[in-house]
């Protein structure tokens, strides 16, 4: 993988994608509107004017590495921190001026924060009691919430006797019983082991569909994000790098950073001129402005040329774009020397030396043992042009 440092992204990009996404989900105005929010800790800026629109009923994941500001954003929405500038709106009302206990937002914390001195029942009932819910109503609602997370039998238990996964369900029930407009989840699955994690992911997803509440889920695990979300917002250094649905963010990454953060990719540095992009000996048709450009090419897009029967016109020599055929699956060929081949289950990871110091990685299914030089190809549409400059 070529490690390309993608320089900053602007908030404008986020908004542009958001507009598209909002139209895509068909929601009218966003349920939650984060507008140009800035937050500093001491001298260190964490959020730099971030804007996001969250639609009602969607499962939005805020993804990013540590320091990207994702947890801070969550805490601002929950009300545990105060923003330095900008606004947060829920529907018609300004949210950021309200204290945490007056917001119709509930949080599931990373280590659950179950009250150790209260039983499971009392934990779940806590919010209902705080808001003065009728005493007669409380037992039913608590039972309902616990049943929803399959913890109905444990109502009388002490939290100290529960496993991590069980505590997490109680935390969910405790939050959901209050029927919040938005549920915030702060890396709730990170403390669980891999199998339990997968199981909980599935349960969370179906729970969200069942309950219909907006979930805003924070994680640094991109696979988790892709599996669960309606939309993914990738944060980087306090700004939205891209926000859109998982297929889009994977197939059409906006910047080099997105391309590398989500899944694996090859970054091709090409010169674009007269509608053709050239990277070393590889050339393909590309639109957009002329000049230097970066392209993202996923390893699984690269195939062995001679094996694939659907290969397009053979073309003379390697690396030539196909002729005037404008089919989107026009394929691009190139030659390369096999450097390494690593077994990877269904597909092998193959490092290819394409000359001029360019090394690509390909994921090819059951190629047999490869050696020496070979011919490869990929579909033109798989080379996605990405921004990598702040001025994008």
């Amino acid at each position: 993988m070529n490690a390309e440092p993608a320089t900053g992204a602007t908030g404008a990009m986020g908004t542009a994608s958001t507009a598209g996404a909002t139209a895509a989900t068909g929601a009218g105005r966003g349920l939650l509107s984060v507008r140009n929010v800035e937050k500093r800790f001491g001298a260190r800026p964490v959020l730099r004017g971030i804007s996001i629109e969250v639609a009602a009923g969607e499962f939005l994941t805020i993804l990013g590495e540590s320091g990207s500001g994702k947890t801070t954003l969550l805490r601002l929405i929950a009300g545990f921190e105060e923003l330095d500038s900008g606004e947060i709106w829920m529907g018609d009302e300004r949210l950021d001026v309200l204290p945490a206990y007056r917001r119709q937002v509930n949080t599931v914390f990373q280590n659950y924060a179950i009250f150790p001195h209260l039983s499971v029942f009392e934990n779940v009932a806590f919010g209902l009691r705080a808001k003065g819910t009728a005493k007669a109503e409380i037992p039913d609602r608590v039972r309902q919430a616990l049943d929803m997370v399959k913890m109905g039998e444990y109502a009388g238990s002490a939290p100290s006797r529960l496993s991590g996964g069980q505590q997490q369900r109680v935390a969910l029930a405790r939050a959901l019983v209050n029927r919040p407009k938005i549920l915030l989840l702060d890396e709730p699955l990170s403390a669980l082991d891999a199998n339990l994690r997968k199981q909980m992911q599935a349960e969370l997803k179906s729970l969200q569909r069942e309950v219909g509440i907006t979930f805003i889920f924070v994680t640094h695990d991109q696979e988790e994000a892709m599996a669960l979300s309606d939309r993914v917002a990738l944060l980087r250094q306090g700004l939205v790098e891209q926000i859109t649905d998982p297929r889009e963010i994977y197939g059409r990454p906006a910047t080099a950073y997105v391309a590398q953060f989500i899944g694996q990719t090859n970054l091709l540095h090409a010169e674009v001129q007269d509608g053709v992009a050239r990277a070393g000996a590889i050339a393909w048709r590309a639109s957009g402005e002329a000049g230097t450009a970066t392209f993202s090419l996923r390893p699984e897009s690269i195939r062995l040329a001679n094996v694939h029967p659907a290969a397009q016109n053979s073309g003379a020599g390697a690396g030539q774009p196909t002729g005037q055929n404008s089919a989107r699956n026009a394929s691009v060929r190139f030659c390369g020397r096999i450097l390494t081949q690593t077994f990877g289950g269904a597909a092998d990871l193959i490092e290819i030396d394409c000359g001029d110091g360019q090394i690509l990685r390909a994921r090819i299914a059951t190629p047999g043992l490869l050696q020496g030089d070979a011919e490869f190809e990929f579909a033109e549409a798989d080379a996605v042009r990405v921004r990598d400059s702040a001025a994008g």
Partner: protein, 281 residues
């Protein structure tokens, strides 16, 4: 997360109390040290430095002060010599009964200072247990006088009081020495003694400094032990202060001495804080 109201609610009451009952009293103490007493036993607010000059000029005060510092130094040293090995033993060598041994050290602390001082008085007196014991064994043939009512008695009593005080912080810092560091040292071939010198001792220094500071400062300001077991030759600086506030009725002078003590203590605390900070980095 905490509102202004919350923060004010928790900060203001203790702040007020501490101002009223610590800050203002110290200020009054400070003021008194610059006043003097008229012949008719009235405190006159004539701001001057007489008291401090008196302390400096009159050799008696300096003598007693130095004696107090010697006693404090001896007590600190002895308490460390007793407390450190004990702490080391309980921390590193007592595997099974560590908890019990620790509690055994704390318990005497709750035996009331007065009670323990009094106990030493009965032990050290010419009719006391020690003399009786020595005569019983025919080691001596008459009561030994200097056991009681001497600086020796004061040092002995105060060492007894303050050994648990040095034990505690040293024990705490020894417990925090990572055991795998000690094991690594042994693995690399260092003898137990070398391991102690090079690894354990340096890491336990913060505890040693804390314990030593407490022992020294509190001994210096002690007036009860001298009154119980010190006799005329065991008088310490605080006893002078006590008499100045009692029969000798010279509050301003007493205040001046107290203020000097206060300044000395604060200075010592600042210095040890700085040392501990440097050790921690």
């Amino acid at each position: 997360m905490y509102t202004r109201a919350y923060k004010s609610a928790v900060t203001i009451p203790p702040l007020l109390w501490v101002t009223a009952f610590l800050l203002i009293p110290y200020a009054i103490l400070f003021a008194h040290s610059f006043w003097s007493v008229s012949p008719s036993q009235v405190i006159v607010h004539n701001w001057n430095l007489q008291n401090y000059l008196e302390l400096w000029r009159n050799p008696m005060y300096l003598t007693v002060l130095f004696r107090s510092m010697r006693i404090a130094g001896s007590v600190t040293l002895l308490a460390l010599l007793l407390g450190y090995p004990l702490a080391y033993y309980v921390s590193f060598h007592a595997v099974k009964r560590k908890d019990l041994l620790y509690q055994l050290v704390i318990i005497p602390l709750w035996a009331s200072y007065l009670v323990r001082g009094y106990a030493w008085k009965t032990i050290l007196g010419s009719d006391g247990v020690l003399n009786g014991f020595l005569q019983f064994l025919h080691i001596t043939h008459g009561p030994v006088q200097f056991f009681l009512y001497s600086p020796f008695a004061v040092v002995l009593t105060l060492t007894h009081i303050y050994t648990p005080f040095t034990f505690l912080p040293i024990y705490a810092s020894l417990e925090h020495v990572p055991r795998n560091m000690v094991e690594a040292s042994q693995d690399l071939g260092a003898s137990p003694w070398k391991t102690f010198l090079r690894v354990i001792l340096p890491l336990s220094l913060p505890g040693v400094i804390a314990g030593a500071t407490f022992a020294f400062v509190l001994t210096l300001g002690d007036f009860l032990a001298p009154l119980l077991v010190g006799g005329p030759s065991g008088i310490m600086i605080s006893n002078i202060v006590v008499s100045l506030f009692g029969a000798a009725y010279n509050w301003p002078l007493g205040a001046a001495i107290s203020l000097c003590m206060l300044v000395l203590v604060v200075a010592l605390l600042v210095v040890t804080e700085k040392i501990e900070k440097r050790l921690a980095s």
